[in-house]
C-alpha cells in the first residue's frame, strides 16, 4: 500500500491523493479480473472439454485413416481424407443439396420473421396470443415436427395433397418428387424455426426508440421511408445476427431430411451433415467423416464472415 503521509511529503498533497486513488483503482481492476476469471472458469472448462478438445481431436482424426475401435491401428495419411473428399461425387452432391436447402430456407426464415415481428409490434389486438402462437412450433422437437409434416405431405391420404386435389388434377407428391422434396423440408423448417428469428427481431424492433418515428412523422416521412431509414438501420446488428445464425443452422440441417425423406428421393435431400453421419456411423470411416466436418466448418466460417461484411458494409 502507498504510504500516503510519506507521499504527501515528497509529492505534495494533490499528487499524493492522485497516486493513492490510482492505486485503489488498479487494485480493484486486479481483483475484478481474478473474480471474473473464477466466474468464467466453469464455462471455460466446459468449453475446453466439450468444444475445443473435440474440435482439435477431430482435426487430428481427419489426418488419419481412423480406426475407431482400435485407434492405435490408425494410419496417418496427412491430407489424404481431404484429397479424397475433393474427388468424392457424393460429397459434392451432398454439398449442393445443402446449398439448395439454404437457398430455399434462409430468405423466408429471415424475411417472414421480420415481417411477423413488425406486424406483431404494431398495436394489434391479442399481441400476446399471436406471439405465443408464432412461437409455439419452436418448442417442439425436430422429430415431432418432421412426423407432423410427413403426415401433412403424405402421398396417400396426406392433408395437403387432399386440399390441392380440389384445385389441380395431379398434386405433387411432395416427399418423393425430386423437385419438391427439399422444398417440402424447407417449408417444414420455416414453420418450425421461424419463431426464434421472430422473437429476436421483435425484441430488436421494440428497442428502437419511438422518438425517431415521431420525429420522422413530423418531417412527413412515409411508412416505407421510416422502414428504410429507421427500422432496418436500427435493427442492423440483430438482423446480421439472425442472418448468420440462420445460415449456420440451415447448413447443419440433419433431423428433418433424416426423418422425413431418409435423404431421398435418389439422394436429393442427402445433406452434408447426413453425409458426415453416414460415412461416420454407417461406413465407420471416422477420419473421413471428421474431414467432412472440417470442410463444413470452414464453409460456415467463410459464409459467416462474408455475411458479416456484406451486411455491415454501409455502417
Amino acid at each position: 500500500m502507498l504510504d500516503l503521509i510519506a507521499a504527501m511529503r515528497t509529492e505534495g498533497p494533490r499528487q499524493a491523493i492522485n497516486l493513492w486513488w490510482q492505486e485503489m483503482v488498479d487494485e480493484y481492476d486486479r481483483r475484478e479480473s481474478a473474480e471474473g476469471i473464477l466466474l468464467a472458469l466453469p464455462y471455460l472448462l466446459a468449453f475446453v472439454g466439450f468444444m475445443l478438445f473435440p474440435l482439435l481431436y477431430g482435426l487430428y482424426m481427419s489426418l488419419y485413416d481412423w480406426d475407431a475401435l482400435s485407434p492405435e491401428q490408425s494410419e496417418f495419411i496427412g491430407l489424404g481424407n481431404y484429397q479424397a473428399l475433393m474427388n468424392d461425387p457424393r460429397f459434392w452432391e451432398a454439398l449442393w443439396n445443402t446449398i439448395w436447402f439454404v437457398i430455399l430456407s434462409v430468405p423466408p426464415l429471415v424475411v417472414f420473421a421480420l415481417l411477423l415481428a413488425l406486424g406483431v409490434n404494431r398495436n394489434v389486438k391479442g399481441q400476446t396470443v399471436l406471439r405465443t402462437i408464432f412461437f409455439s412450433p419452436y418448442i417442439l422437437t425436430v422429430s415431432v415436427v418432421a412426423l407432423i409434416w410427413v403426415e401433412l405431405f403424405a402421398g396417400e391420404g396426406g392433408l395437403i395433397r387432399h386440399w390441392l386435389a380440389f384445385v389441380m388434377e395431379d398434386p405433387p407428391r411432395f416427399l418423393i418428387d425430386q423437385t419438391w422434396a427439399m422444398a417440402s423440408i424447407a417449408i417444414a423448417t420455416v414453420w418450425w424455426s421461424i419463431a426464434f428469428n421472430f422473437i429476436i427481431l421483435l425484441a430488436a424492433r421494440q428497442n428502437v426508440s419511438d422518438r425517431l418515428y415521431e420525429a420522422a412523422k413530423l418531417d412527413g416521412a412515409s411508412s416505407y421511408r421510416m422502414m428504410r431509414d429507421i427500422t432496418i438501420p436500427q435493427m442492423r446488428n440483430p438482423l446480421i445476427f439472425v442472418v448468420i445464425i440462420t445460415f449456420v443452422g440451415s447448413f447443419q440441417v440433419f433431423g428433418q431430411p433424416y426423418i422425413m425423406t431418409d435423404g431421398g428421393p435418389r439422394f436429393a435431400t442427402h445433406t452434408i451433415v447426413m453425409y458426415l453421419y453416414t460415412t461416420g456411423f454407417a461406413g465407420r470411416e471416422f477420419g473421413y467423416a471428421a474431414a467432412v466436418g472440417y470442410v463444413l466448418f470452414l464453409i460456415l466460417i467463410t459464409v459467416s464472415v462474408i455475411n458479416y461484411y456484406v451486411l455491415s458494409e454501409n455502417e
Binding site: 475401435l69 407432423i148 401433412l152 396417400e156 391420404g157 396426406g158 431418409d262 439422394f267 461406413g283
Partner: protein, 467 residues
C-alpha cells in the same frame, strides 16, 4: 361388421382401399398423426418411424418401439452377472426377456440383465460403447451388420457347440474359420395375405401363388375385386423382395470379398426383376406410395403385404395389431423368370464384444447362448415368430403344434428346409451400399426412372461406396 351384409362389407372395404385421392381417411389420419406426434413429443423422444414404409431398416417396421422392459438382476443374485443390450424392442422383446428370466432362475451362478436400446440407434450406440470400452458383455448383431465389429468380437468356438445349428444360418457368422455369434434365429420376408380377400377375388386362399405368372393372375383378380393386391414397401424393405428375386435369377447383389466388392445386379435378370417392381404399380396391384398400405392391411382392406417373421408377434392375440380376419403367409420367391427359389433373410446373433472376460464368464456366456439359441429355440420361434436356428427345433413336432406354425412358421420352415436362405451380403459398409440400391429402386416404384437407368445409377453409387 358382423351385422352387415357381405355387399355392405365389400363396399366399405372398397371405399377405404383404393381411394382416388384418399380423402375419406385424411382428417382422421392427420389427427392420428398429430396425436401420435404430440404424445411422442410429451415423452421427449422418438424412436424409429413406425409402420410399413419407415426409414429403411428392419424390425422397426414391426411396429412402435417399446423401451419399457428389460431384465433386472440384483447384485448377489449370482456369482457372474452379465450385461446384455437388446435391440428387440418390438413384439419380440417380451418373449426374449421371459426366456432370459427363465435362464436366470435355472442357472446357479450366472444371471443376465437386459437393457433395451432403441433399434434405430442400436448399432451406433454399440459402436460408440465399444470405442469407449464400455460395451455390454453380450450384444446383438445381425449377420448383415457383423463385419465392422469382427475385429472386436470374441470368437465363440470354445464356448458354444455349433453342431446343432442349420449350416446355412451358422455360415453367416463364420469368418476365417471362426464363429463370432450364436444365431438366435433366421428371419426372412414372406407375403402376408388376407385369405378373405383372396376368396372374394375368386382365388383359392389355401393355394397361394408359387411363381410370377400365378402371382400376377392373383393380383389382377384382387384388383378387379376392388383392392390393392400387394405392397413390397419402400426403403430397405424394398430389398427384401428385390434381393431375393435377383438371387432367384442367379445373381448375388454384390460379389467379391472385403475390400474388393463389385455390384452384380446391373444385368438382364436385375433389369427384369426391377421392372417387376414398376409393373406392380402400373397394374395397380401396388399404390405409388406405401403410406397407407400397412394400416389398410391391418384393417382388412388390402390384399397382401411383404413383411418379416416378426409380424407374427404383432398380429397374434395381444400383439397390438391383431388381425380380425383369416390370414396366412406364402413364400416370396416369385421372381419373374426365376431359375431357383431364394428368399432374402438375416439373423439375430448373440455376440460378445471383446473385453477382459474371465474364463468363467466366457463359459457362463456359452451356457446362456446355448440355452437361448438351442434349448429354447422352439419357444423363441413360437412366441417371436422368427425361425429357430437349430435343425432339431425345425424338425420338431413341438414347433408344428404351436399356434404360429399354421400362420407363418410353416412357410418359413419350408424356405429354410429347401435351402432358400439368401443372406444380404455383409460388408464393412452394408448400410451405405444398401441405401444406394434402395434409393434407386424407390425411384422405379415411384415412376421417376426406368429400371435400366435406376440400376445404372445404383451401380455407380455402389462403386463409389466400395471405393
Amino acid at each position: 361388421m358382423q351385422g352387415n351384409s357381405r355387399a355392405d362389407e365389400n363396399s366399405n372395404r372398397q371405399r377405404a382401399t383404393r381411394p382416388v385421392s384418399g380423402r375419406s381417411n385424411n382428417r382422421r389420419r392427420f389427427l392420428q398423426g398429430v396425436g401420435v406426434a404430440g404424445a411422442v413429443g410429451l415423452a421427449g423422444c422418438v424412436g424409429s418411424l413406425p409402420g410399413f414404409g419407415g426409414g429403411g431398416d428392419n424390425e422397426s417396421q414391426a411396429g412402435e418401439e417399446d423401451l419399457e422392459g428389460g431384465v433386472e438382476v440384483d447384485e448377489g443374485d449370482a456369482d457372474i452377472i452379465l450385461r446384455l443390450d437388446s435391440l428387440l424392442t418390438g413384439g419380440d422383446g417380451d418373449p426374449f426377456e421371459a426366456m432370459v428370466e427363465d435362464f436366470n432362475e435355472q442357472s446357479d451362478n450366472v444371471a443376465v440383465e437386459v437393457t433395451r436400446v432403441p433399434w434405430d440407434e442400436y448399432y451406433d450406440q454399440l459402436f460408440t460403447a465399444m470405442t469407449a470400452d464400455e460395451a455390454p458383455d453380450i450384444a446383438f448383431s445381425h449377420s448383415s451388420q457383423i463385419v465392422p465389429f469382427l475385429d472386436n468380437l470374441t470368437p465363440l468356438d470354445d464356448y458354444v457347440n455349433y453342431d446343432p445349428y442349420v449350416e446355412q444360418i451358422v455360415d453367416s457368422v463364420e469368418y476365417d474359420g471362426q464363429h463370432y455369434g450364436a444365431p438366435l434365429d433366421t428371419h426372412m420376408a414372406a407375403v402376408y395375405y388376407n385369405k378373405e380377400i383372396y376368396e372374394e377375388a375368386g382365388l383359392d386362399p389355401e393355394e397361394p401363388p408359387t411363381n410370377w405368372e400365378e402371382f400376377a393372375e392373383a393380383n389382377d383378380a384382387i384388383v378387379d375385386a376392388g383392392y390393392y393386391a400387394f405392397d413390397y414397401g419402400t426403403g430397405m424393405h424394398i430389398c427384401r423382395s428385390w434381393g431375393g428375386w435377383l438371387r432367384s435369377r442367379g445373381h448375388e447383389v454384390i460379389q467379391g470379398e472385403e475390400g474388393n466388392w463389385e455390384p452384380n445386379f446391373n444385368n438382364e435378370g436385375g433389369v427384369e426383376v426391377t421392372q417387376a417392381l414398376r409393373e406392380a404399380v402400373e397394374r395397380e396391384w401396388t399404390p405409388t406410395e406405401d403410406d397407407n398400405s400397412w394400416p389398410s392391411f391391418v384393417e382388412g382392406d388390402f390384399g397382401a403385404v411383404v413383411d418379416g417373421t416378426w409380424a407374427w408377434s404383432r398380429f397374434r392375440e395381444g400383439g397390438g395389431e391383431e388381425l380380425d380376419f383369416d390370414w396366412g403367409t406364402y413364400d416370396l420367391s416369385l421372381a419373374p423368370g426365376k431359375e431357383e427359389d431364394w428368399t432374402m433373410c438375416d439373423s439375430h446373433n448373440l455376440v460378445v464384444p471383446a473385453a477382459d472376460h474371465s474364463e468363467e464368464e466366457l463359459e457362463g456366456i456359452g451356457q446362456f447362448f446355448e440355452y437361448m439359441t438351442q434349448e429354447r429355440a422352439v419357444d423363441w420361434s413360437a412366441e417371436a415368430g422368427h425361425l429357430a436356428a437349430t435343425t432339431e427345433a425345425l424338425g420338431s413336432d413341438d414347433l408344428r403344434e404351436r399356434e404360429a406354425w399354421d400362420y407363418s412358421l410353416h412357410t418359413f420352415q419350408e424356405i429354410a428346409d429347401n435351402g432358400e436362405l439368401y443372406y444380404w451380403p455383409a460388408t464393412q459398409n452394408t448400410d451405405e451400399y444398401s441405401e444406394a440400391i434402395y434409393q434407386s429402386l424407390e425411384a422405379v416404384r415411384f415412376g421417376q426412372q426406368d429400371a435400366q437407368a435406376a440400376l445404372d445409377e445404383a451401380e455407380q453409387r455402389c462403386q463409389e461406396v466400395f471405393e
